[in-house]
C-alpha cells in the first residue's frame, strides 16, 4: 500500500486493533453495547452502518484501534450476530480472521426466561448449553427450559 493511499484511508484503516465486519445493520448498536465500547475512552473507534455488501446487501462495521478482545467478550456478539467476522489487525495487516461462533456452554451471559428457575432466585451465575448452534437455541442447565434465539435476554 502506498503512503498516499494509506493517508486517504486513514479514517477507516487500523494500524493495530480489531475490525468487526458483516454486522447486520439492525444489530450494529447492540454489538457496540455488548462490547461495552462506551467504556473505551482512549481508543479511536469508527462505527459505520449500511455499507454495501455483496454477501448481505447492507452491513455494519466497527473498528477499534489498539483493542483486542477476549473470548468471552466475543461470545456475546455471537448471541445476536452469529455471522460476524472479526479481523485482528497488527501493523496494517489482518493477522487473524475469525468468525465468531457460539460456544458449547454460556456461563453468566444470558438470563433464564423462566421466573421459577433457581438462577432467577439465588445469587448465582446462569449456565446454558447451546443445543443448536445454527438456530441459536439454548437450554438452561438448571430448569432445563429451552430458549429460542429471538427470546434471548442478555444479562
Amino acid at each position: 500500500m502506498s503512503a498516499q493511499k494509506k493517508k486517504a484511508l486513514q479514517v477507516a484503516t487500523l494500524e493495530n486493533g480489531t475490525a468487526i465486519d458483516h454486522i447486520p445493520p439492525e444489530h450494529l448498536f447492540k454489538v457496540a453495547f455488548l462490547l461495552e465500547l462506551e467504556k473505551l475512552d482512549t481508543n479511536t473507534i469508527t462505527i459505520g452502518n449500511n455499507f454495501q455488501s455483496k454477501k448481505m446487501g447492507r452491513k455494519g462495521v466497527i473498528k477499534i484501534a489498539d483493542k483486542f478482545f477476549k473470548e468471552d467478550e466475543l461470545n456475546r456478539i455471537a448471541l445476536i450476530a452469529p455471522n460476524v467476522i472479526l479481523n485482528e489487525i497488527r501493523d496494517f495487516e489482518v493477522v487473524r480472521k475469525c468468525p465468531v461462533s457460539l460456544p458449547d456452554e454460556l456461563k453468566g451471559l444470558v438470563k433464564c426466561n423462566n421466573p421459577r428457575c433457581i438462577t432467577n432466585n439465588e445469587p448465582m451465575p446462569t449456565h446454558f448449553t447451546v443445543i443448536d448452534k445454527e438456530k441459536g437455541t439454548l437450554r438452561c442447565r438448571y430448569c432445563e427450559r429451552k430458549i429460542n434465539k429471538e427470546d434471548i435476554i442478555i444479562k
Binding site: 421459577r116 428457575c117 433457581i118 438462577t119 448465582m124 442447565r141 438448571y142 430448569c143 432445563e144
Partner: protein
C-alpha cells in the same frame, strides 16, 4: 457433580435404571435391612409433599438410618432470606445425604453442585421428579414382566405433567409405543414429540379418550386435568368429564392391562374402577418405598451390601 446425586431421569442410562429396579425388587422381598446404620439423611422439603416425604423417610428408617429435616420452608432460615447455597452447605455439615423437594426449578441440580454429599431430587417445581419415574418403571415391569415393546397410553394433562415427560424419557430405552390422549389445550409439547421422533419411538395423538385406544394398551397411565391449567374455562367445562376412566370402559381391555396414576387422583378415575384387578395405582405408590430404598443405596455407593 462432586458426588453421586440423582437429579434427573435424563442422567440415568439403561443400565442405571435396570440396576436400581433390580435392587428395588430385593427390597420388596425384604424391606427391613440394616444398611444405613449410623447414617443421617436430611429431608429438606421447601414445599410440602406428604406422600413423597413419608415414602423417603420410611425408606431411610427401614434401612436403619436416621432422618433430620423440615417439611415446610416457612419455619426455616430460608424464610429469613438465607440462600439455598448456605442452607445446603449448613446441612452438609451434619448429614450424609440430602433428599430435597423445592418449588424452584433447577434447585436440586444447583444443590448437587455446591455440596460434596449426594443429593436426591424429590421434585423441583415443574421440572424433574426422578424417583417417581423410577417407581413408574418398576411398576410397569412388575405388572408386565418386562419393560420392552409395550403399548403405553397416557391420558390427561400432557402439557404440564412432569411425570409424563419423564416417563417418556425413562421408557425410551425400552422400545415403547405411545398413545397420547389429551384435550387440545394440554397436548404433548413439541419438545417431547421431537424427542420421540429422534429416538424412533412411535406415538399417536388423540383428543378423544375411547375404548378402542384402551383395548390396545398394556399400560394406561392416567393423570389429573387441573382446572387452573386452562385459559379458557369453557373449554375446561367441556373436557373435564371426557378424560375420566370408568369401569365399563375396561370390558374389552387386554388381560394384562394395568392402570397407573402418579396420585393424588381427583376424579379422573371413577371409584368403581378401584374394584377392578386392573387398577394398580395403590400398589404403584407402595413400590415407591422399595425404589427409594434402592435409590438411597445407589447414591451412597453401597449397592454391594444389598
Amino acid at each position: 457433580m462432586k458426588s453421586k446425586s440423582l437429579v434427573s431421569i435424563d442422567q440415568c442410562t439403561k443400565e442405571d435404571i435396570l440396576r436400581i429396579l433390580d435392587n428395588a425388587a430385593r427390597f420388596e422381598a425384604n424391606p427391613n435391612r440394616v444398611l444405613l446404620e449410623g447414617k443421617v439423611a436430611a429431608t429438606l422439603f421447601f414445599e410440602p409433599s406428604t406422600r413423597t416425604r413419608l415414602s423417603f423417610e420410611t425408606a431411610v428408617n427401614r434401612l436403619g438410618g436416621r432422618v433430620v429435616g423440615f417439611q415446610d420452608a416457612s419455619t426455616t432460615s430460608s424464610s429469613k432470606g438465607e440462600t439455598l447455597k448456605d442452607t445446603i452447605l449448613m446441612v452438609s455439615n451434619y448429614a450424609d445425604l440430602i433428599i430435597m423437594r423445592h418449588y424452584l426449578e433447577g434447585a436440586a441440580r444447583y444443590a448437587s453442585e455446591v455440596t460434596g454429599i449426594p443429593v436426591i431430587n424429590a421434585g423441583d417445581g415443574a421440572n424433574q421428579h426422578p424417583s417417581q419415574t423410577l417407581l413408574d418403571l418398576y411398576t410397569i415391569r412388575q405388572t408386565q414382566n418386562r419393560l420392552h415393546d409395550l403399548q403405553i397410553t397416557i391420558v390427561g394433562d400432557l402439557k404440564y405433567g412432569r411425570t409424563v415427560h419423564s416417563l417418556i424419557v425413562g421408557m425410551s430405552h425400552f422400545n415403547p409405543s405411545f398413545h397420547f390422549v389429551a384435550p387440545e389445550e394440554l397436548r404433548m409439547p413439541d419438545e417431547q414429540k421431537h424427542f420421540c421422533d429422534k429416538q424412533g419411538i412411535p406415538y399417536v395423538e388423540h383428543t378423544d379418550f375411547t375404548e378402542e385406544i384402551i383395548n390396545h394398551s398394556d399400560i394406561l397411565y392416567m393423570t389429573r386435568v387441573q382446572r387452573e391449567r386452562f385459559t379458557d374455562l369453557e373449554e375446561y367445562e367441556r373436557v373435564k368429564n371426557v378424560y375420566i376412566l370408568r369401569k365399563d370402559m375396561l370390558s374389552q381391555s387386554k388381560a394384562n392391562l394395568r392402570i397407573l396414576h402418579p396420585l393424588p387422583r381427583v376424579n379422573e378415575i371413577a371409584y368403581d374402577v378401584d374394584d377392578s384387578p386392573k387398577a394398580y395405582f395403590i400398589q404403584q405408590a407402595r413400590n415407591g418405598l422399595f425404589v427409594r430404598q434402592a435409590i438411597l443405596c445407589d447414591v451412597l455407593g453401597i449397592n454391594h451390601l444389598i
